[in-house]
Symmetry: C2
Subunit: 160 residues, 2 copies
DNA sequence: CGCCTTTTTGCAATAAGTTGCAATTACAAT
DNA sequence: ATTGTAATTGCAACTTATTGCAAAAAGGCG
């Protein structure tokens, strides 16, 4: 069945209410800001959007609401290494990111690639990993082909 | 060959100097604080140790030195979810951590478990992952056996 | 040894995120 | 509709980390 426009906003709200959390206007607006955002959104951006319609809202409410939504599995949080964290509606599908430390490029990574790791953690450690939105840092294809270091320039490495 | 006590401190310093970085007393003391610490140490703890002998040092120097050491691969940084990040000498061996979100317990994880993932990132994406000190969040064995949620208590999940 | 250049530091301001507490408010029960 | 109460918010203070800039200092060179 097709999801109607409004369900996107109503469902996480209902979920919260069923769990005994109160539906405050602040929470509804923060939820709306996240679900309506097509990309990963930061706390500051959420705050900007919400306070445009509801100026007395406080940034700490945004952070506390994000913590709640994350705890309840409704949003995922990712640190892309920007000095600030970004959020994403969990029901829009899990995925991960490869972040190139040389050029800053960000690539999407299929969720399936982490499954073997999750399975071995479960099998070998009986640990139920909660890896919903991971950023893996490293060097991308293009940067690996180009020359490498920043300062020393000449490659000292003995094993080519 | 056995590593003499002093080599532990001299080697990273030499490494820095060979790369053209200056050996300042601040850097040497920060390095010493990290290598002498048997456990993962925070920036604030490094600062406390260093400023005990050298009071005019500034916390921003600690952070900048940590950024440099990390960049040069001499220390690894890990966010164990404490609201502050911890550092560890890279030459003491890489390892990872499982952090239980229910009870807070932290388990060590063998580096080998991440190798298949690193290999598939290299094979499928030509991406050279730099996973040297990862914290994976989730639920540990003990917490999985006990009852689960906090607020809603009854498990609504339809697929057991 | 002292000069010179470039790196590095200290300082102060700033950013991102968290927390304690009193005031407010959602919502269930009258 | 009103009330009672626990959850939630706003506020202000605080913590962790980062940054611009002028002053200080490392290390190469003469």
């Amino acid at each position: 069945m097709a999801v109607k426009k409004h369900d996107v906003e109503r469902n996480p709200a209902q979920f919260l209410q069923e769990r005994g959390f109160r539906l405050t206007p602040q929470r509804l607006m923060i939820l709306a800001a996240i679900t309506e955002s097509q990309k990963h959104i930061s706390a500051e951006e959420i705050y900007a959007r919400v306070s445009a319609q509801y100026p007395q809202v406080n940034i700490s409410t945004v952070y506390r609401t994000l913590a709640l939504l994350k705890e309840q599995g409704l949003v995922t949080e990712t640190d892309l290494g920007e000095g600030r964290v970004r959020y994403h509606a969990a029901d829009k599908g899990h995925h991960h990111h490869l972040v190139c430390q040389s050029c800053g490029a960000i690539f999407d990574l299929d969720e399936a690639l982490l499954e073997p790791l999750e399975r071995s953690l479960l099998d070998e450690y009986n640990f139920e990993a909660d890896i919903r939105h991971l950023a893996i840092f490293g060097r991308c294809s293009r940067c690996r082909q180009r020359a490498a270091p920043a300062k020393g320039q000449e490659v000292i490495d003995a094993h080519p």
